[in-house]
């Protein structure tokens, strides 16, 4: 059955049309339905120190008399939280966040009133404790499949530059597998990089990860927080079948200017932020440039394959009484080699520009969010013979997100328009499809709600649909549920289920780790849409104020994955076949936060298996259906991250262990003589490498220890100098990246990478 993969999208076409029509009807009817006798409370939380919004602040709405919790929630990236349809009466509003004084005030809501409460939290001087769980009043933050990553979390992972980086942090997450230390490819719970979607303030960016897997376009300095959905995400996220990385950048300081720069052997950076108009307009600028090519020969003592990259981020933010807006521009560029002897030059570039506004005025029944922008991505591969292959994706997009009440039920809904072009110039490598130029507008809609039948249970159903001019609307129901057995967040059981589609695939030669060149191509015309089903269940337990642990089991079933065809002969050729995949596993994580000590440990078990018709795949095996573990099937991953403050010094350590990933062994180096047209005594024959069973063996285990020690010196009232020394792979282990069957070379990952970084900040 695998060989004749059905166009599953069309199986639901009738149902999809009904669903989409229903959704449109809901959207049309919704604004007219509003419970006028109820009230709306809208809370906007920002920092008094720099005026920036605080994402993730705990907002508790308490009974004014008894102090019992009635509602709760956490603020979004704009520091905003909306409670609609609440009874008009008096409440005590309590807002808390790590490092800030808890704010408490009494409010009284009139019938039909929409109240916006703007709160500026005051920094608590000398506050050193991490998140303090306030008995039963802590709101839910642990959600299945979701990892909320703070700026502080990113800063804890040792990085060979001043400040942390999201790329380094993500690799410390048990669910995230990288293919090595080069290439910028991240696999999340069995999903390939093209099955993941990266958003930065709602703007899509295809590959923001640099060629060195230690870096991305998201350094600690610019990030506000990141939501990593390893699966089970709601319908507000459409267009990815595996995972979502939703990055929120922080606005520049609204109160005062500050800036600085840093330098390390591997990178230099400059940053500047400050108010254009104090309190309401701000700007943030950051630029980074790698110095790896200049320094590696001196520090590593051997010739390393070249790699060069930079990223630039500019962000303008406006914060008004009734709405906030920001305009963001990001560009990245990467260039280099993965294998020094292959002389294949890889490069990729992202350009993203866009704006996003959120309106929350009293006159609006509910907040409204609008995003518009443009995203450009291109990647190329140049062979020694100067043959260049390239693939480019352009996206012009618009998104609208709103909330309404329908029969007393809050409905969050939205739609997105995305005009995409896919262009590829493939030379001779991709023989199954020639160079192409497609234009594909994509429309997606979604609706979701939150239902809390009691204080123990929260249910979040959502529905989404997506269509292009060549594909019928998809039907993507999703469900997330949280159950707190004792009514507090000390324990939480959560479940997520869902159906996911995407309308484009990225195809690369998965057999060849020496290149990450990816051809992006729309699906749905000749090739059925990729589809996935997710099921995740998790349990989280807090013990005391400092210790948290959780376990999560997951199952993902992928359909219509485009994989490169194989040939028994090692040569550059990529045709595609369709495979189905099954991923299952579990993660266990424990975290202890009690300053000056921080320790987190995580173990992940995963099994990824693909199956495809052997004939379609080109597999040189007897079975009609070939089941195999793809190259990213890492079964075991264990991580420990710790930090300790000793006096004025902060020491950080990260150790990572990963079991071996599958690879295909070579059994023969041959010169094939095509008899009888060639004759052994006259013709040398054609060189070919003969492979054993595809992915039949596993590479050796991988482990690496990174350490750093840093200290900040106050050089004056307005100048700080931070020095950090450390090393990546401190015990200089020869961790294999891959074995190149063409050159018979073992390619190792980065050897010990010592560094000393300096960062100066002025304000």
């Amino acid at each position: 059955m695998v060989g004749s993969v059905k166009k599953r999208t069309f199986c639901f076409s009738t149902f999809s049309k009904v669903f989409v029509c229903g959704l449109i009807c809901i959207l049309g009817v919704a604004p007219s339905v509003n419970a006028q006798e109820q009230s709306t409370l809208r809370v906007l939380v920002k920092s008094q120190e720099d005026g920036t919004p605080i994402a993730g602040a705990n907002v508790m709405v308490l009974n004014a008399d008894t102090g019992d919790r009635i509602f709760g929630g956490i603020t979004d990236r704009d520091g905003l939280l909306d409670f609609s349809n609440i009874a008009p009466r008096s409440y005590r509003l309590q807002i808390s966040f790590v490092g800030f004084k808890t704010h408490s005030e009494l409010i009284t809501l009139e019938p039909g009133e929409t109240r916006v409460v703007r709160v500026a939290l005051e920094v608590e001087v000398g506050q050193l404790d991490e998140l303090v769980v306030e008995d039963e009043r802590e709101v839910t933050t642990g959600e299945v499949g979701l990892r909320r990553i703070s700026r502080e979390d990113i800063g804890r992972v040792p990085s060979p530059v001043a400040g942390g980086d999201l790329a380094s942090y993500l690799q410390s997450v048990p669910s995230v597998i990288s293919t090595g230390d080069r290439g910028g490819e991240l696999h999340i719970r069995g999903g390939t990089p093209s099955q993941n979607k990266v958003l930065v303030d709602n703007l899509p960016i295809i590959k923001p990860f640099h060629i060195s897997n230690l870096f991305s376009a998201f350094p600690e300095y610019t990030v506000q927080n990141v939501d990593l959905f390893a699966g089970g995400f709601g319908a507000e996220y459409m267009g990815a079948t595996s995972a979502i990385i939703d990055v929120s950048l922080r606005p520049g300081n609204y109160k005062q200017f500050n800036g600085g720069g840093s330098i390390s052997p591997y990178m230099a950076s400059l940053n500047l932020e400050g108010p254009l108009k104090r309190g309401s307009h701000s700007i943030l600028l950051m630029g980074r440039k790698s110095l790896y090519n200049q320094s590696s020969a001196y520090l590593l003592g051997e010739e390393e394959p070249p790699m060069d990259f930079y990223d630039l981020t500019a962000r303008y933010s406006y914060q008004g009484q009734n709405y906030t807006c920001n305009a963001t521009g990001i560009t990245t560029h990467d260039e280099g080699q993965i294998n020094p002897s292959r002389s294949i030059k890889l490069s990729w570039r992202n350009i993203v520009v866009g704006g996003r506004c959120v309106g929350f005025a009293e006159s609006l029944n509910h907040p409204i969010e609008i995003t518009a922008g443009y995203s450009y991505y291109t990647n190329s591969e140049t062979s020694p013979d100067r043959t260049e292959r390239s693939s480019t994706v352009n996206q012009l997009f618009f998104a609208f997100d709103h909330q309404e009440s329908l029969f007393g039920v809050p409905i969050d809904y939205g739609f997105k328009l995305n005009f995409r072009t896919y262009k590829a110039t493939l030379a001779e490598q991709f023989t199954s499809f020639e160079s192409f130029d497609y234009r594909r507008p994509v429309v997606s809609v979604f609706a979701s709600t939150v239902w809390e039948p009691n204080k123990y249970l929260t249910v979040e159903p959502s529905l989404g649909s997506m269509a292009t001019i060549v594909t019928a609307p998809t039907f993507e129901p999703r469900l997330r549920m949280m159950y707190q057995p004792d009514g507090t967040n000390q324990q939480e059981i959560s479940v997520a289920l869902g159906r996911y589609h995407q309308v484009a695939s990225g195809i690369n030669d998965e057999r060849d780790a020496g290149t990450v060149f990816t051809v992006w191509r729309p699906d749905g015309e000749d090739i059925p849409l990729p589809e996935a089903l997710h099921a995740i269940a998790g349990y989280q337990q807090r013990i005391g104020n400092h210790f948290k642990t959780n376990i999560e089991g997951y199952y993902k079933r992928h359909y219509n994955i485009s994989v490169s065809k194989w040939t028994p002969i090692a040569k550059l050729e990529t045709e595609t076949a369709l495979a189905n995949g099954t991923t299952y596993g579990f993660d266990i994580a424990a975290e202890y936060r009690n300053r000056p000590f921080y320790l987190s440990a995580g173990y992940g078990y995963a099994s990824v298996a693909y199956e495809a018709a052997s004939g379609n795949l080109g597999a040189w095996i007897e079975e009609p259906i070939f089941r195999y573990s793809p190259a990213h099937d890492q079964r075991h991953k264990f991580n420990v991250t710790g930090s300790y403050e000793i006096g004025k010094f902060t020491a950080s350590v990260r150790w990572e262990y990963g079991s071996g990933k599958p690879y295909t062994r070579v059994y023969g180096f041959d010169l094939r003589v095509v008899v009888p047209s060639e004759y052994p005594i006259h013709d040398a024959g054609t060189a070919r490498t003969l492979y054993s069973r595809p992915y039949g063996q596993r590479l050796p285990v991988y482990h690496r220890l990174d350490v750093s020690v840093g200290r900040t010196f106050h050089l004056g009232k307005h100048t700080d100098l931070k020095m950090e020394a450390g090393a990546i792979n401190i015990y200089d282990r020869d961790n294999i990246f891959y074995f190149d069957a063409n050159t018979l070379e073992r390619i190792n990952q980065t050897p010990m990478l010592p560094y000393l970084s300096l960062q100066a900040q002025f304000n």
Binding site: W620, Y667, G668, L671, I681, P700, I736
Partner: protein, 281 residues
């Protein structure tokens, strides 16, 4: 314990620092063998041509990368045995060097008879011997029907016997406007197998139409442009066991990979009757 004592002496009572010290000792290099020496040891390429007095068979050690394959002699003894009469011959290595790679071709002068199985044995100095079997085909008799062939006459060439599994391959060569042309691959579609017979059936006109390189001229005058009335048909066929495939697995033999076949090739000529056709017109 010493580490713990030192840590405590420094006033740092942190178990993770001890852990750090322990795992620092783990930077050892793992064993890794990307070459599978179990699956295959040798490749064999060659044909046993019934018509030739000397045949050559290439034998290569698969486990040695090409850049390192500089052995003056192969680490094995190669023999060929006629399984019908039991005679055998230890083959002599004729080394053929290309860009520093030494290729070992084994020469045999053993008479190659039709419908006879021959066993090639590679006996390495270490490990199990490897065998490849080639059975020579029968020498097919040919019959051309009808005898008088005009431009649009549907003619047949019957090859008998031909092993159904191995089939037969043919090419037709002719002279057209003083240039020689050969029709090869498209002919496969016009060969049918009936039990132990192979039949090639088409018309001379169609032969000319199937050659893409012919100059563009009106189809009805194609035969008139032939310089010669002679079609030369060359054909060859393999013995039982031949499979014409390019994937490695289909060529597998226990312990390696092989293209090793019994083989027979011959030619026949067909004289076209174009003059009488002109007169009829």
């Amino acid at each position: 314990m010493n580490n713990m004592i030192k840590i405590q002496a420094l006033g740092i009572n942190s178990p993770f620092l001890l852990l750090l010290g322990l795992i620092t000792l783990c930077g050892c290099d793992p064993r890794f063998n990307p070459i599978d020496t179990e699956k295959g040891r040798y490749s064999v390429y060659g044909t046993l041509d019934i018509d030739k007095d000397v045949n050559y068979i290439r034998v290569k050690n698969l486990n040695i990368p090409l850049a390192h394959d500089t052995l003056k002699t192969l680490d094995a003894t190669v023999t060929l045995e006629n399984l019908r009469n039991g005679t055998s011959e230890k083959l002599q290595d004729v080394v053929f060097e290309v860009q520093g790679v030494r290729l070992h071709n084994y020469r045999t002068t053993m008479p190659i008879n039709p419908r006879t199985p021959y066993l090639l044995t590679i006996d390495p100095t270490e490990g199990k011997e490897i065998r490849a079997l080639a059975t020579t085909p029968s020498i097919a008799q040919t019959q051309v029907i009808p005898q008088q062939i005009r431009c649009h006459t549907d003619f047949k060439i019957v090859f008998d016997p031909v092993d159904p599994e191995a089939g037969i391959q043919a090419a037709i060569e002719f002279e057209f406007r003083n240039d020689r042309y050969t029709l090869r691959s498209p002919l496969k579609s016009y060969i049918t197998q009936q039990n132990n017979k192979a039949i090639l059936q088409l018309t001379p006109h169609l032969v000319l139409q199937l050659v893409p390189q012919l100059p563009a001229i009106p189809s009805r005058t194609l035969c008139e442009q032939l310089t010669s009335d002679i079609f030369t048909v060359s054909y060859y066929h393999f013995g039982p066991g031949f499979r014409n495939s390019t994937t490695s697995d289909s060529l597998d033999i226990p312990g390696g990979t092989a293209d090793f076949f019994g083989f027979y090739t011959d030619t026949l000529t067909i004289e076209l009757d174009l003059e009488s056709e002109k007169q009829t017109q």
